[in-house]
Each structure stands twice: as C-alpha cells, then as structure tokens.
C-alpha cells in the first residue's frame, strides 16, 4: 500500500495527535514504536562568545580572566556557579529579574539534573578561519579547510546509516527556509521553516478536502503532485518531494499540538521549530537527524553585561541566552515527560558555533571574531553535569595568537561520538562521514 492511502485511512488517528501524549504512530510502523534515536544539530550562528556563557568563577583561570577580559568582564556576584571554578551566564538559569540565588531554571536546571554537558576548547584545531561563512561551511560540511564539498556531514551519515525505520517524509529534517549546508546533497532531506504554515491553501478550490455535496469535487491542491510528475532534473525531483511533503504535512495538524509536562515553548522561531520537532518525534515520523539554527551571536557591539535581579536592565546577549535556554527546557520537558515515556532517552541535542570570540573586548562593548569555544550537549543519554575536553587556558602562553582561546577538541569528535554511541554508526564508517578526521577519540559525552 502506498503511503498516501495509508495516511488517509488514519485520519482519525491523526486527529488524535492533538491530544497530549496521544500522538499517532507512524502507520508505516504498524503500531510498534521505532525506538529510533534522534540527533539534533543546533547551530548557534554568528559565533557565540562561549566565554560569556561558561565563565571562570574562581581559581587561576578567574585570575587570568580578570586580567584579560577588559570591559566584557562579568563580576562573580552576577554569575550562577555550577562548579567550584565555573559559572553560567545568569540568564541560562533565570530571567532578568531573578537574582542569581533564585531557583535554577532552564539550562542550569538541566545541568543540575546531569542532562546538560559542556565541552571546553571545541573548534577546528586543524584549520583557522575567522570568516563566519567559511568556518560555518567547513563545519556544516564536516570538511575543515574545504568548502567545496558537495555533501554535508549529515548527508554522508545518512548514506552510511544502516537500515532505518520507514520515514513518513524523510529521515532528515532541516528547520530552515533554504537547504542547510549540513544536509546539502541529500535529495530526500526535508527543509521547512514553519510546519504549521506549510500548506497550500489559497485556492478557492482548496476549501474542501472532500465535499459530499459535490460529486467529484477535488481541491486544486490535490493536483500539485501530478503537475510535477515526470522529469528528472534536480528541480523536478525537489518539486516532487515538496509536493509529497505538502500532502503529508497537511495531515499532521501542527497548529493544534499540545505539549506535555507543562512545557512552555517560547513563541520564537526556535521555540516553534522545536515544538514541531517534538511532535514529529512523538509521531514516530522517522526523523533521525534534524538541523536547527539559532542566530544573532555576532556581538561586535553592545554585547552586554548581565545585571541579574534588575528586570529593566537591557542585556542583548542575555536575552539570546534566555531564548535558547527556555526553548531547550521546553523541548526537554515535553519529550521527557511524555505519556509515551521518557523520549529524551533517545534524543540528543548538540550545540555548536563557528568560532569563539576575542578574549578582550573591543571599544564598542563587543567582541570580535576568535577561535576556540564551548559546545553543549543535551539529552537523556548525555553524561551531563560535567565538563568534557580541556579548557585551553587564559594565561598568556596558552592563548592563540595572543588574543583568542585555543582549541583542544576537534568538534568532529563530539559529532562522531554521537553518531557511534547514539545512532549506532560503526566506527569504521566514520571516515566516510568525516574524511579528514584521522582518528576516533571519544570524550565520553554520550552513553553507549
């Protein structure tokens, strides 16, 4: 039976997807859950200042931090400590009006529950570019130093993956308007910026799916797939995927989705996309990898110093951090508290950025492009509440070109570990995914 007819016979189940916890199961799975792990690749576009998110709190690195950080320095009293020597930016754990002593929320809570891990010194040790576009392209393509690679790293993973559960639409979702580089070259990857508005509904002749009063009536939107039949150009192939996607997404009723566990998704693009992704995961739609972007981190100017407890203090960077923290907390809560069970046990989120920023701020209360940075990982099978990798050091001898944090961890090692330990990729297949990664050296971020 074709997917389409399967779906039509499951209309009642699809409607039930609007009820909490009662997400309908992918009909292609015949009622059994797939138990498939999902890897979420969340890119913090623009170069997040990791030293502003995970900040030295005490000890020798704090001394070095205070001597070098210039006007970007955050006083200890405005930080939320998470270990004797390290602290988080206060907005990762509370709103602008919350004093740092208030009950930890969001990312700080997830750290305390050992679900959030921090990787220090991450980046591209083999290559340097302070260009956003080169560095992002290298990372997304998985080939540092080469941006002419025709496939993204996730595209190559999908080619190497063993048998995957049948997908309703695609094993790969890119939450963006244009095809993300990490999935470039994957013809089956599905890219959508907003799931609930992804429907052709403008025709008068698309008012009705079917109308019993009108014998033979069929809305014009049913014809789109036929219009794109035949033809083998990349455009025509892409069009057929889009037409099929429109038909299938129409049945999923994204607008009426209700989150579980009291999760409150922010109304931002990231919040909406994570909510859509949670619904796809609960529906067992076959998503294996998903990419999302959360941008705005290119803080050359007015980066801001937090002032927790003062609700009227404007903090550009802090607002971004809170936007990220709230969205991830909602996603985690929604999936981990699902009536289907703790779905976060098979979902891992990896967050990274193209480079860190210059240790010493510039004259416009901002920071210019730098090098080494933090990465974050979140999930039920993440070894959280701990640091991984090695902090490269803020003392003069450790800095890169006397100005930036160095790199001690190749970002590909973290991604490779997620592929091997969570998605079950054989180690021998890694060289296909990351052709210039010489060896596999897992840091222990993920549980096997």
């Amino acid at each position: 039976m074709k997917r389409r007819s399967f779906l039509k016979s499951c209309c009642a189940a699809a409607a039930a997807g609007a009820l909490p916890g009662m997400a309908w199961v992918n009909p292609l799975l015949a009622g059994t859950g797939s138990n498939q792990d999902v890897l979420v690749y969340l890119y913090l576009r623009g170069g997040i200042d990791g030293l502003h998110l995970v900040v030295p709190y005490a000890g020798p690195e704090r001394v070095a931090y205070e001597s070098r950080r210039g006007n970007m320095l955050i006083p200890e009293a405005r930080l939320r400590p998470i270990s004797p020597q390290w602290a988080l930016h206060p907005r990762a754990g509370g709103g602008p009006g919350d004093p740092v002593s208030s009950t930890p929320r969001w990312l700080q809570r997830l750290w305390l529950e050992n679900r959030l891990a921090i990787i220090q010194g991450a980046g591209m040790p083999t290559h340097l570019s302070r260009s956003h576009f080169d560095a992002q392209a290298w990372m997304d393509l998985g080939t540092p130093g080469n941006k002419n690679t025709s496939q993204g790293w996730l595209t190559r993973y999908l080619q190497q993956a063993g048998p995957l559960p049948p997908a309703l639409l695609s094993h790969a979702f890119g939450f963006a308007s244009t095809q993300p580089l990490a999935l470039i070259g994957a013809n089956q990857a599905f890219t959508v910026s907003n799931a609930q508005e992804f429907r052709v509904d403008g025709f008068h002749w698309s008012w009705h799916e079917t109308n019993p009063d009108l014998n033979g009536h069929q809305g014009a939107h049913h014809r789109i797939q036929n219009l794109w039949q035949s033809g083998s150009s990349p455009l025509e192939q892409a069009g057929r995927l889009a037409a099929e996607a429109l038909a299938e997404m129409r049945n999923m009723n994204f607008a009426d989705y209700q989150a579980e566990g009291g999760a409150q998704y922010p109304s931002s693009a990231l919040g909406t996309q994570l909510r859509n992704l949670a619904q796809l995961i609960k529906s067992d739609a076959g998503v294996v990898v998903a990419t999302l972007d959360y941008g705005g981190w290119d803080t050359h100017e007015g980066q801001g110093i937090p002032n927790p407890g003062n609700p009227n203090h404007f903090d550009f960077y802090g607002n971004l951090v809170q936007g990220l923290a709230e969205a991830l907390d909602a996603f985690y809560t929604d999936l981990s508290q699902s009536l289907q069970g703790n779905l976060m046990n098979r979902v891992s989120v990896v967050m990274l950025s193209e480079f860190g920023r210059n240790v010493t701020g510039n004259q416009s209360n901002g920071t210019d492009h730098g090098y080494g940075n933090v990465m974050l990982a979140l999930g039920g099978r993440v070894n959280g509440g701990q640091f991984h990798g090695q902090f490269p050091g803020l003392d003069k001898g450790s800095l890169f070109e006397n100005q930036d944090l160095h790199t001690t961890v190749d970002y590909r090692q973290v991604l490779a570990e997620a592929l091997v330990r969570r998605l079950g990729l054989p180690i021998s297949a890694l060289e296909q995914v990351f052709p210039t990664l010489d060896s596999y050296s897992p840091l222990g971020v993920f549980q096997a």
Partner: protein, 571 residues
Amino acid sequence: MDQLAGGTSAVLSAGDGDQIFADRFVDQSHDAQAFSRQVLERFSYGARPEDISHFLSLGSTPFDRLSNWAAQQLDWQSIDDSACQARIDAAGYQTLGKSITQLWADHVRGSQTNWPDRYLPVAETDAARLIRAVYSRRQLYEMLVEFWHDHFNVAGWDFSIAPVFVQHDRDAIRPNALGNFRELLEAVAKSTAMLYYLDNRANRAGGYNENWARELMELHTLGVDVYYPGAFHGAIPFGDDGLAIGYSDADVYDVARCFTGWTVRNGHWNFPNTPEYDTGEFFYFANWHEGGQKYVLGQFVPMPGQAGGQNEAHVVMDRMCRHQATARHICRKLCRRFIGDEPPESLVESAAAIWRDQWEAPDQIAQVMAHIITSDAVLQGLGSKVRRPFELMAACLRKTSAEIQPHHFQGWQPYGELYSRFQQTGHGGFRWPAPDGYPDTAARWTSASVLGQSWRLLSRLPELRMPNDGPFLLRVHELTLQALPNPADHSAANLVNWWLDRLIGADVLPQRRLELINFLRQNASPDQPLNLTTNPPYGNWSAGNMSAHYTPVRLRAMVSMIMMLPEFHRR
C-alpha cells in the same frame, strides 16, 4: 565593446563559440521568438508579449537583436521610465524622497516608540522595489540593483537600519548599479545603514572593530578564495600588480584601523554636543582615527599627511578595487547571476579582464555586463536558472498585467496577505540577516520549504483583490476575455493553451498540459466551451455539474497551477 558597436554575427565570425549562434539560430521566426523570450526571461523580471515584439524589432539577426537590446538596457538613463515613476508617485509613499537628515529627524529621533513609523522607510523601499520590477522599462538595471543589494546586503528590517534604509537604496546602490564599482563602494562605505550594520560607526582608535573591514575584504571586494588565515604581513606572494595576491587576518586588522573614525553623526557623547552632530549623516571623526603605520595587501599605507587620516581608507579601497581577486570574485558572482550556477571559467576570466582594465571608467559595470550578455555562454545558460521567489512573484504580476500599488502597513487585504505569504518563502525584501546576501544557486532555492511556500503564495495570488470587492490584482478574467472574446472559444483546451503561451511560451510536458485541462474541464469534454461570464467574478454553485461549478474561480486556480509548473520556475 566592438561586439556591441558592430552588433552583427559577422563581427563574431572568429572563434569557436560563435558557431553556436550560427548553428542554433538560423533566423526562422519561431526560433527568433523563442530566443527573444528566453533572453527576456533571463535578463528581466518576465517576458510579456510587448517585450518580445520590441526585442524582435531591434535587428535582423538574433545576435543583432540581443546586442541592441543589451545596449539599450545598459544605457538605462536614456530609457524613459516616467510611467513607472508616476506609479510610485501615485502610491503616496512618504519617505522615499527624504534626505538622510530628514529620515533621521523623523524616523529615528522622532519615532523611538512609534512602531510603524520607524519601519516605514524600509517598507516603502520594498514596496517601490516591487513596482519597479513589475513596471519599469529599465528591467536589466533593476536586476542589477537587486544584485548589488545582495552583494552589499544589510538587514533592512533591523531596528537601527530600517529608518535610514532609503538612503542606502536610493543614494548608494541605485545611482551606481551600472556605473563604477569604486564609486559604488565608497557610497556603501558611507551609507548610514552599512555603518550601523557592520558596526563601523563604532570603529575607533584603541580597540578597533573589525566587522566592516573583514566583510569588506571577504565579501565585498577580494573574496574569501584569497584569504590566508593567520599569515603574517609579507608572507603572501605578490601578483603582477605589485599587490599581495590575497589577504590575512593581519590585513583585516590594519584595514579596520584605516577605517577608524568613519562614523555617523548620531549624537555620540564623544562628539560636540550640538545638533549638527546628530543628523544621521556620515562623517569622519578624526579624534577616533588610529594613527600609526598600516600595511595592507603587501604595501604600507602612505602616512596621510595633509590628506588627513580619512585618506587611508581611500587608499585601501583603491587597492581592493583594482585588485585581480576583486575582479574575479565579482565577475564570477555576476556570471552566476546571469549565466548559470556554474559559469564557464573562461567567461569569468574575460569579464574580469574588462573589469580590471576599466576599473576607473564611469560605466565599468555596464561594460562588463555587455560582455557577459553578448557572450556565447549566454546561449548555453538560457533556461538553467531557477527563479527565486521574488522573481517568481514579479513574473506572475508582469505577465498577468497586474495592477498593484503595494503598502506594507495598510491592512490585510490585499498587500498584508501578499507580503505575509511572500515572506514565508524565505526571500522577503531586505530580510536576509547575514552580510553575504541571499544565495544564488538552485540548490538553495529548491528546498521543500521554498517551493511549498512559493506555491502557497501562488495559489493565493489570483484571488487577491482590493478591499470592498474591488478589482483583482491579476487581470486573469479581463485578459482571457480580451484574447478570446467569443464564448465559443472558452473550451478548457483553448483556455489552457492560451494561458500556457502567455505565461510560459515554451513546451511543457504533455501530461502536465493534460492535467491542467482535466482540472479545468471537470466533467465537460476538453473542447466544450465553459461558461466564464455568468455571475463573475466567482460564478455559480452547481453541485450537479462540476464543469459549471464556480467556473471563473476554477480558471484562476488553473492559472495558479501554471505558475506552479516546473517550466515556470526556470528562467
């Protein structure tokens, strides 16, 4: 420019590629028609019958017509565009004529909290852009304006940029779009929008801000292909022009230092506390300029002396503009825009040679465009580009003789809805956040999201009408009755054929044509006339006979479906 001056295929008889013209365009009228249409789909926002007739009148051979058409279009100021300007005037936009000082006073200082006012300048620029794409007779010029907006992208709807965006478009991009790149670059460097977007307004001595300098070298001029990360001064080899063939971070830092003090009269507390320092204009603030020796592209920047520190930026812009890497980088982008996603390297090189030779010519860009348009590569590339959503929308409006007067903030119907749907395609006007501008390859514009959202827009387009049952924006009904006045000619097959010719004009796959006919005819035969004229614009309910059920609406839906065809998505 001998090709343009000569303008005949005889001039081109030497060289391999010229044979292609001779082979493929034996001057049969059908080929001539098809060729003219393909050229116009490529180099304008959509070929209409009157455009094709005009093109065909421009000479006796395909190449004559092409080169004459290019010469006319590139001499854009000689094209009378008063009808288009009259439409813009009639729309009643309030901000397009305001000087930067007025924009600053009214929309920055005057509207800190008044939300629509703050965004009116970018909104009206965006509205005028659509009018120009649809109605301007300077079609190629408008495409170059779009190209340079992508090249020198600023986030137009940013809080700081929106109120001054008019100046960026009107005073920096538009006057120079077919002119001289050095002048264009200088105007952009001084545009208040760019000074905010890439932070150069805050770039000052003792802690320079590299944002503008880096993108200037990486995106606007030399290109990242010649970026040597981490190289020391003097470590990069020299080219035949005496300049280093590329740049490193050290060059970025020194270029940033050259631009220290290029800022905006924005009332900064370092400036004298008088009104003339809060006008929104560019100015050079010497107190912020960082002294000391600078070394850029393999040469020291001469100490400024009498010329003043401001001159250092002029010197480095000169170096970048005459640099071979800049010529290649920009010519490759132009070829990608107008020839194909992977343009032939030989064309990039020959265009770059002209670019470099003519770097001081007032019509440098026009000369390069003439070379590209009349190159043999044009023939191979025709039809290979995928229309981006703005081009799709503009083509739909042009080809259906639409009447539009868009406004962003005047209600939902019709333009609120139009822009809402258009922005979902990911190609909203001046909304790309990063400085590299909207992408220009098919792979980035054929995602399910872009195509699905484009179809969502196209499905609605023929139904959009002015408030209170006013006229439809697209003249589907009128054009149909004009072309086929006799009701006996209103069979589904005739209607589909006429609209396919009007909108696409080239072959579409037979099964696609059949699909359109089947949808339009319902239970009628393909040759049986349909009733389009009873109770327009929607027609009647007719449950027992679907061929009579809301027939005029079905005609408009069929037109939408043509706009969704693969053949319509190419240019």
